[in-house]
């Protein structure tokens, strides 16, 4: 059965749709997401377009339905970018469509540059949204520093639309570097690899990519030409054998494309960097394929279908999300009791009728 799709073009229209709804919605941005629950669809496609872009103030404001393709192109034209490297899930999830700004914030997307530039939430300046009662709300703004009232804008980062439908988003952007360089060093052991990554990240050379993939340590440095040469030189002294390589592994790492071709389950695990090393060693012994990013603090695992990764991790992790695959365990990490109570109370407060993404 085909589902009704609502495509509001204004906040008022969206508010009316929500206020008069009697059944839950799937909030759809680009629809590149994995498994819509089969509810009526609430598309953000009509809430799109760049509203304001001031390169000299590092500020971008756009409708939540604006495609990432449009935003990335505009920024690139002006020598700027979203520094946190939002992931493109199409390869690994086998979906099509154009990812949107709203979907990106709703998932708090970020790639390898997390170690330096943070995630979407760190660059979020403000947003507008409509909650489950149809209330149109503004929070934060377009300026770079703002502590006026509670920061409920950042609550939406990673909330997957459970607190409301975002309509407009303001972000801080940053300049593109003059040069990007990648360095590599063979290292079969995850323990030794993470120790080396820690050394690099603990240096003043502003490493902004630090991964261990297929038996190699990968480091990225960016900046002015001369600066990159200098830092590459310093880093190769710090980690003998580390050399510049003429390749760009970072987009593949960002999108976990290395896991796209198999049909195994894919897990994304966030954990303390040194635990990343321990977890990698343990999982490899269980036949799990492991890649580490964020200096060890992000672990990608491809496992046999239905594998209970969380038990296998034995408490080493902060949280683990099953990005692809099914199983008896929930896809998202269950929160501790106290936190879960607060979170579900918040969800009820913003969405008393349970309309969003349940």
């Amino acid at each position: 059965m085909t589902q009704t799709t609502f495509t509001p073009t204004t906040e008022e229209e969206l508010s009316d749709i929500i206020a008069s709804a009697s059944a839950p919605f799937d909030i759809v941005g680009g629809g590149t997401r994995h498994t819509p629950a089969g509810h009526q669809r609430l598309s953000t496609a009509g809430l799109s377009g760049v509203r304001l872009y001031e390169p000299g103030a590092l500020t971008l404001v756009a409708g939540a339905g604006t495609t990432m393709a449009e935003i990335n192109a505009l920024l690139a034209d002006n020598g700027q970018r979203l520094p946190f490297e939002p992931m493109d899930h199409r390869a690994v999830l086998g979906t099509s469509g154009e990812p949107t700004l709203g979907g990106m914030v709703a998932l708090n997307h970020c790639g390898p540059r997390r170690v330096q530039a943070g995630s979407a939430r760190d660059m979020l300046l403000g947003l507008r949204f409509v909650d489950g009662s149809g209330r149109i709300v503004k929070n934060g703004g377009r300026v770079m520093k703002n502590v006026t009232g509670y920061d409920i804008a950042r609550l939406h980062c990673g909330a997957r639309g459970k607190l409301g439908v975002m309509t407009e988003i303001s972000l801080k952007v940053l300049p593109l570097p003059e040069r990007t360089a990648t360095m590599a060093l063979a290292e079969p052991s995850p323990i030794a690899a993470v120790a080396a990554l820690s050394k690099a990240l603990g240096s003043p050379f502003e490493v902004n990519g630090a991964a261990w993939h297929q038996g190699r340590i990968l480091l990225r440095i960016e900046g002015f030409n001369d600066s990159v040469s200098y830092r590459a030189d310093q880093l190769s002294r710090l980690l003998p054998g580390l050399t510049l390589v003429d390749e760009n592994p970072w987009d593949d790492l960002r999108d976990a494309r290395f896991a796209a071709t198999s049909d195994r389950d894919i897990w994304r695990v966030s954990l303390r960097a040194s635990n990343g090393a321990k977890a990698a060693e343990r999982l490899m012994g269980m036949g799990v394929d492991v890649t580490l990013d964020w200096g060890g603090a992000l672990l990608w695992a491809s496992t046999d279908n239905g594998f209970d990764l969380r038990s296998a991790l034995g408490g080493l992790h902060g949280h683990a999300t099953r990005l692809r695959g099914a199983g008896d365990t929930p896809a998202l990490e269950p929160a501790a009791d106290g936190v879960a109570q607060l979170t579900s109370a918040l969800q009820k407060a913003y969405d008393p009728r349970g309309l969003f993404n349940r």
Partner: protein, 476 residues
């Protein structure tokens, strides 16, 4: 400034409440004598004072939980306090409130350079956090000017920033986890040594909640290796507008300095008289600091010089040594002290889009004439966070009121041009009633909902942040 009328019922049972506090925590944690309480009657917004019912200084999270549970059960309001340096009245008590201070929670619990984290108790001062790791070549980035005195607890309460946040972000960007106690005594852990949350992340709303959601007792902080070096350049201009245009051009050119600070003539003159830093005689001055190795610094400073020269500066003074850097920073760092020498002043904290700088400075000049009060401008230009200092005479009847009225006009101006009331100091009581100018009823409701969830009885620092008329029904 209106505050809610204290509960006569609570005041009349004061002795009983204090005895009860002493039954749940050791008696030496409780301060009840008039002289002891005096230190807690205000924060750095000294124009407003009130003696609290009692003060408790717990020695661990469990004691905080015991005190909160007791106050919760008895319906006694609680005001969380760090070091009391809030400029917004964030830690100002009411007469019927128990102040719960974290001043005795100062331990470093863990430092891990491999994982680039540090876990501390939140009563520790900002500067002593960095001091604990400095010798090993590390630092904690957010650096409010009050860092010698202010505590991490207050930094979390206000989501404080500092001169270097253009590059490193503010508190929320450097906070990975925390332990906190809810008003009913429940102890909650959020986040940890890992970098993000798996689902809805409560951390960013607790950070900056001005002590209204919980009392934070421990924090996991992101720490960073120190840069190889840092050096500033000072550029003097004939007008504020040109200085503003120069800032925008630097950023457009792809350079993100660690700090860009702005001072106008009244501020430069006061600093010069006070600190004798040898600043040029000019209308506006920028201090721009960059980081890296010597060679990297030279390169960035050369780029900045090139851009600045296009704006016909009066003077460019580039630091070549630690000594010269210190001299350039001397005046800026003593700005607040310098103004304090010549006048009473009120420090505003609105943020504006950088592009609106010339217009806003012009309007502030006009308001200054209308009200007959002097204004000196010093601020973080890279991110548009302004600190206009309005000069007044506290001994002159009516001056404080005029100053507050002018401050409110300037903040409304910030909102009008697309900015906000406060960039880093917080709302507290100071800007509470101006919240109506920035937010409509729906916006405020969407924020107050969060407090309903964390503190259903509205006992924690309830008379702050939200306009009293907006929060009245909930506080009743």
């Amino acid at each position: 400034m209106d505050m809610p009328i204290p509960s006569a019922e609570i005041l009349s049972r004061r002795a009983d409440h204090i005895a009860a506090l002493k039954s749940v925590v050791p008696a030496d944690r409780v301060i009840e004598d008039v002289i002891g309480l005096r230190a807690y009657e205000c924060d750095a917004l000294t124009a407003y004072r009130c003696t609290p019912l009692a003060v408790v200084l717990p020695c661990n999270t469990e004691e905080v939980a015991a005190v909160l549970k007791l106050c919760h059960d008895r319906g006694i309001p609680v005001v969380p306090r760090g070091a009391g340096t809030s400029l917004a009245g964030g830690s100002l008590p009411t007469a019927d409130a128990v102040v719960v201070g974290v001043a005795r929670l100062t331990d470093v619990l863990e430092v891990d350079y491999d994982d680039r984290i540090m876990r501390i108790q939140t009563g520790r001062t900002n500067l002593s956090v960095t001091a604990a790791i400095e010798e090993d070549g590390w630092f904690y980035a957010p650096d409010p000017s009050s860092q010698l005195a202010c505590a991490i607890s207050g930094n979390i309460g206000m989501n404080s920033g500092g001169a270097h946040c253009l590059k490193y972000g503010v508190t929320v960007n450097n906070l990975l986890g925390l332990r906190m106690v809810l008003m009913d005594g429940t102890i909650i852990d959020l986040g940890g040594a890992h970098m993000d949350a798996g689902d809805i992340d409560l951390l960013p709303v607790v950070c900056g909640a001005e002590g209204q959601l919980s009392i934070v007792t421990e924090a996991t902080l992101r720490i960073l290796p120190k840069p190889e070096g840092a050096r500033p350049v000072m550029v003097a201009f004939g007008s504020s507008a040109v200085a503003g245009a120069c800032v925008s051009d630097i950023i457009k050119a792809g350079i993100v300095p660690v700090a860009i600070e702005f001072m106008d003539r009244p501020c430069i003159e006061a600093c010069e008289a006070f600190a004798k830093a040898g600043y040029p005689d000019c209308e506006a001055l920028l201090i721009i600091e960059v980081e890296g190795s010597d060679r990297e610094i030279d390169h960035q400073l050369a780029l900045i010089r090139e851009i600045a020269e296009r704006h016909n500066p009066d003077e460019i003074r580039e630091s070549r040594s630690a000594d010269e850097s210190a001299r350039i920073w001397l005046g800026r760092k003593s700005a607040f002290g310098a103004m304090g020498q010549i006048n009473d002043y009120m420090c505003l904290d609105g943020t504006i889009p950088v592009s609106e700088l010339p217009y806003v400075l012009e309007r502030i000049g006009e308001l200054s004439k209308e009200y007959g009060l002097g204004v000196a401008n010093v601020f973080h230009a890279g991110d548009g966070n302004m600190h206009p200092l309005i000069l007044f005479d506290a001994n002159k009847p009516g001056d404080l009121q005029r100053c507050e009225a002018m401050g409110a006009d300037i903040l409304r101006l910030c909102i009008e041009v697309g900015g906000c009331l406060t960039g880093e100091h917080g709302v507290g009581i100071e800007k509470r009633d101006l919240m109506h100018a920035q937010f409509n009823a729906q916006d405020l409701e969407a924020q107050m909902i969060v407090k309903d969830v964390f503190d259903p009885k509205w006992l924690l620092n309830a008379a702050k942040v939200f306009p009293l008329d907006a929060s009245e029904a909930r506080r009743a």
